[in-house]
Amino acid sequence: MNTLTSFFSLLIFPAGLTLLLAGMFYDWFDRKLVARFQNRVGPRWFQPIADVIKLFAKEQITPGIKNPALFFGLPIVALSGALAAALYVPLLGFAPVHSFPGDLIVTIYLLSLLTICMGLAGWNTSSRFSLIGATRALTQVFAYEAPFLLALLGPAMAAGSWQIDVINDYARDHWFAISQPVGFIIALIGLMGKLELPPFDAPEAETEIVAGALTEYSGRGLAIFRIAKALELVVGITLVSAFYLGGLQGVVPFFVKTLAVLFLMTIFQVLLTRLRIDQTVGLWWRFGTILVLAQLLITILWKGGLL
């Protein structure tokens, strides 16, 4: 029975099928909103599904690569990282399947797996575009990862726990977006950097380096990377809105809050132009990290009763 429940939670809900469909939906919602902001009609509701099925049905070319095993293995590792991260977040407003003290750190590591895999994938091929894309992707990891983690630690410290479930419950009565506004904005922008959305899309800048680290991927590998990215979008948004927007209890609050966060991210996407990679790194370390450290200091002082 226990094995059966584990398989169910891995393959159907919350990881697996439900997460896949949610990922497709959020991907479409993002594209549709961007289109509407640009005064376009935008893609139809089944567009991401059609894209993925088409990519799976296409030929997968194996270009001149250094390590074929890595070439085929990396997309799968990236996808499994995103799927595993879904087990620790309150997806669709239900309690996480697995929960232990400190799972916040594990989730953040699992979410970084996609970027690391993309960096390795770019390094593995001999194309110069994917090599530059990989360098930029890995540089960007060092830029946003620390501020993003610190921004998520703000609510964790206030709640007195590093367990996502506990923080989610604590956040029900505490809207951290109001009490820690700096942390909220930095977590939001950090998530955009993680997902390489504009204005942080220098690693896959179409106008400069074709498609970044994934230039040489076609067919199945590309499809799996795209799915992994869509899943990471859902898991990341769930994490940020659970921490900062009063917790996620129930299906309706989940959709309202996560779609509101996605809406905010889309506004940033269409308003801002692409930053150069040195501007991205500078922005994070000169402003992001300093501000969020100040926020953490205030939280610690308040927690210790000094404020």
């Binding site: 296409k58 070319i61 074709v210 230039t215 991927y217």
Partner: protein, 169 residues
């Protein structure tokens, strides 16, 4: 393993695959020596006024991600190798759309010392879109023609001679 083509699941999978291919078309744009007129019209096709993303058509940077190759201009001697390589980098199934009179027949550049000829002398072309430059409506129409013929199950190139006989190009 023997796969019988008449089995239900095979048919269903084929249907789903055909549906996905028709509804998600990623294009890569290659200028093989065009005067830039057709390229501007292709960009106009992607702008909010015509918005081809509602049909699932998207411009991709990498030929490895693309389904159709949009070629503009006559093929110059220098661009010939690059055009071939771009075409060969694309994964199957792939289609070629040649946009503009120059890519159909060489156009005003026909017989130039540095021009090799039309696109279909280098790679197999599925749809020809004549015009100098063709309007975005014409480009969308050409791609829709490609889609309808794919739907019927016969990917065919419009015969170049027919177009020239009609006096369009």
């Amino acid at each position: 393993m023997n796969i019988n083509n008449n089995q239900l699941w095979v048919k269903v999978i084929k249907k789903v695959r055909a549906w996905a291919r028709l509804n998600s078309i990623w294009a890569v744009h290659f200028n093989s020596g065009s005067c830039n007129g057709c390229d501007i019209e292709i960009l106009a096709t992607l702008t909010p006024r015509y918005d081809v993303e509602r049909f699932g058509i998207k411009l991709e940077g990498s030929p490895r991600h693309a389904d159709i190759l949009i070629v503009t201009g006559p093929v110059t001697r220098q661009a010939r190798e690059r055009l071939l390589r771009t075409y060969e980098q694309m994964p199957e199934p792939k289609f070629v759309v040649s946009v503009g009179s120059c890519s159909v027949s060489g156009g005003v550049f026909h017989g130039c010392y540095n021009v090799g000829g039309s696109v279909d002398e280098v790679i197999p072309v599925d749809v020809f879109i004549p015009g100098c430059p063709p309007r975005p409506e014409a480009i969308i129409d050409g791609i829709i023609q490609l889609l309808t013929h794919l739907k019927d199950g016969n990917p065919r190139p419009a015969r170049k001679e027919q177009i020239i006989e009609r006096g369009v190009a």
